[in-house]
């Protein structure tokens, strides 16, 4: 147990390092921008009427403080971190003066919901089919399904999402192709609303699942066909253990360890996929928010979203990492 705690502590240190490096990179990249958020805000606000120079000067001072842009780069960096640990990313520029954190937390559930459900579905489908295809190597149906899914795998998220959009939006318009819910929907929690949200999530989730399942399938099939030759599987076959039991408790159980590690590694990529899918289907998550923020030049919102995505993915990776020793008794604290 003590060994496990040391392991968790080391992984936690790695988590902090990833977050620190990632967010620092984000900070320095954004501070190289030619865009001056203060000038932009002032222009945005003063567009509607003339103000006297003294008031504008006061506004500049206030805004500079709000955006944490006082002093040199290092002082700004310190300010940035001290605000970040309190969850404060300053006010949004495009939706001034709504705090960035508030905007993000409104969009977050959509992305998290889409990402988690799509990941779970593609992980389950891909691994189940991969294990079956690796174990029953002669089945023709499994071969055809695998080939189909593997063929989809290299297609970029955008192109696949785009093809789905054409298929279900123009060729056979059965599903809503944009948005997270109906425009004029009653947003009080009701069965109809849940159904509506699920209907809207089918296409974006399908794009993610179709691309994701193929890569799980390939990995699992390769693992399975290697594990099948291991002594413990041969031994179990000689022991007259039923083939479903061998597949479940011997093959899949052993393949799950590397597959879960793979899940941790691919989370970053899954996140990229969600962002792109959201944009194609106009899904109201943080991907759409990010693109709109870039187009609007919303400095603090971009910074906040990038930081948050790094923190989110890093935490997910950390959780999966510390779970894997529980699955494989051989992984000790290292």
């Amino acid at each position: 147990m003590a060994a496990y705690m040391i392991f968790v502590a080391r992984r936690f240190a790695q988590l902090l390092l990833v977050v620190f490096l990632g967010i620092s990179a984000t900070f320095f990249i954004t501070h190289m921008t030619p865009v001056d958020p203060v000038t932009e805000s002032v222009t945005a606000i003063t567009n509607f009427g003339k103000s006297d120079p003294e008031a504008i000067e006061l506004m500049r001072k206030t805004l500079t403080e709000l955006y944490g842009l006082e002093g040199n780069l290092f002082e700004q960096y310190v300010t940035f971190w001290s605000r970040l640990v309190r969850g404060d990313f300053g006010p949004s520029l495009s939706a001034f003066p709504t705090p960035v954190s508030q905007i993000i937390f409104r969009a977050l559930p959509w992305t998290v919901g889409l990402m988690i459900s799509a990941t779970l579905i593609s992980f389950t489908i891909g691994n189940t089919l991969g294990a079956l295809a690796g174990y029953y190597r002669k089945s023709r149906i499994l071969k055809i399904i695998s080939l189909g899914l593997i063929g989809l795998q290299p297609i970029p998220y955008y192109v696949l999402a785009f093809i789905l959009l054409i298929l279900f939006g123009f060729v056979w318009p059965v599903l809503p192709i944009t948005g997270g819910y109906e425009m004029n929907a009653d947003l009080n929690l009701s069965f109809a609303l849940v159904l509506d949200i699920i209907r809207h999530s089918i296409l974006p989730a399908m794009a993610l699942v179709l691309v994701g399942a193929g890569s799980w399938l390939t990995g699992m099939r390769a693992l399975t066909s290697n594990i099948v030759t291991e002594d413990y599987v041969t031994f179990a076959e000689l022991g007259g253990v039923g083939s479903t039991r061998i597949l479940r408790s011997y093959v899949v159980r052993n393949a799950m360890v590397p597959q879960l590690t793979g899940l941790a590694m691919s989370l970053g990529a899954i996140f990229n996929g969600t962002v792109i899918t959201e944009i194609v289907f106009g899904y109201p998550g943080i991907g759409t928010l990010l693109i709109n923020a870039v187009h609007a030049g919303d400095y603090s919102l971009v910074l906040g979203l990038a930081s948050l995505s790094i923190i989110g993915v890093a935490i997910a990776v950390f959780l999966i990492d510390i779970l894997s020793p529980l699955l494989d008794p051989r992984i000790k604290a290292e």
């Binding site: 970029p156 955008y158 192109v159 785009f162 054409i166 290697n226 970053g268 990010l290």
Partner: protein, 285 residues
Amino acid sequence: MFTIVRDLIRYNIEFAVGFAILLLLIGAVILSFFSPYPAADIYVVAPDMPPDAEFWLGTTSRGQDNFWQLMIALRNTLAFGLGVAFLSRILSLVVGLTAGYAGGRVDRVLMAINDSVMVIPHFPILVLFYFVLKDDMNWLMLVLILSALGWSYDARLIRSIAMSLRTRPFTTQSVYSGMSMRKILVEEHLPYVMPIVFATTMNNMIWSIGMEITLSVLGFTDVDTPTMGQMIYWANSHSALISGIWWWVAAPVVAIIVLFIGLFLLSMSMNEYIDPRSRLNRMGS
């Protein structure tokens, strides 16, 4: 080398198809240099013409010949993928071989950086770069940025091979005969990892071209260098699908899918060639 390619074509259907697609692409690249129109010029032909004998793939709403646009876009996209692959391979080789050979603290530091790069979501970072660079975000800049992001996974792979190479007797012998570390890595270990480097090149190209397409489609790159993504971007911005100019969208989408399937088949068959275990599995089926 030639006999390997010949054997693979004869006995490995995936490689044969992938190789045929590769030849097709090389043909397109050569063809692109004979384009009658400069790539960036617009309204050189009648706009919105459907495919016919004169314009094989029709013309676009911007008055460009769709076929020649596609050839040039293919060339640029391929050059982009190769550029990223080349630079990131160098990075992953340096990091992987050094970490695997040196071990100890060097290894731990390099791998901590490596793992951090591996899990950071690339897309927000790329968007961030566009946000900062705006119009300075050109083709070369994107190659550099993607190279800096796309080396970590393969560096880990190379490291694991380098670690096993370190324990082989020939490495010990090289050390005792006074070879420098750089010399051992370049002359002794590099040849062992080259096949892996080639196989990962394909996967890396699939990744970087996919990223480029996505960024272009969103308008987050230099819009004046025609690439596969740019074609879709311009088609979308002229609402090509809604106004029925389907060939403008279909040409790049089909070309992208063919390109990706070709790269994917090549990478799959190369992996199989490197890993005899998967060859054995093939025999078993």
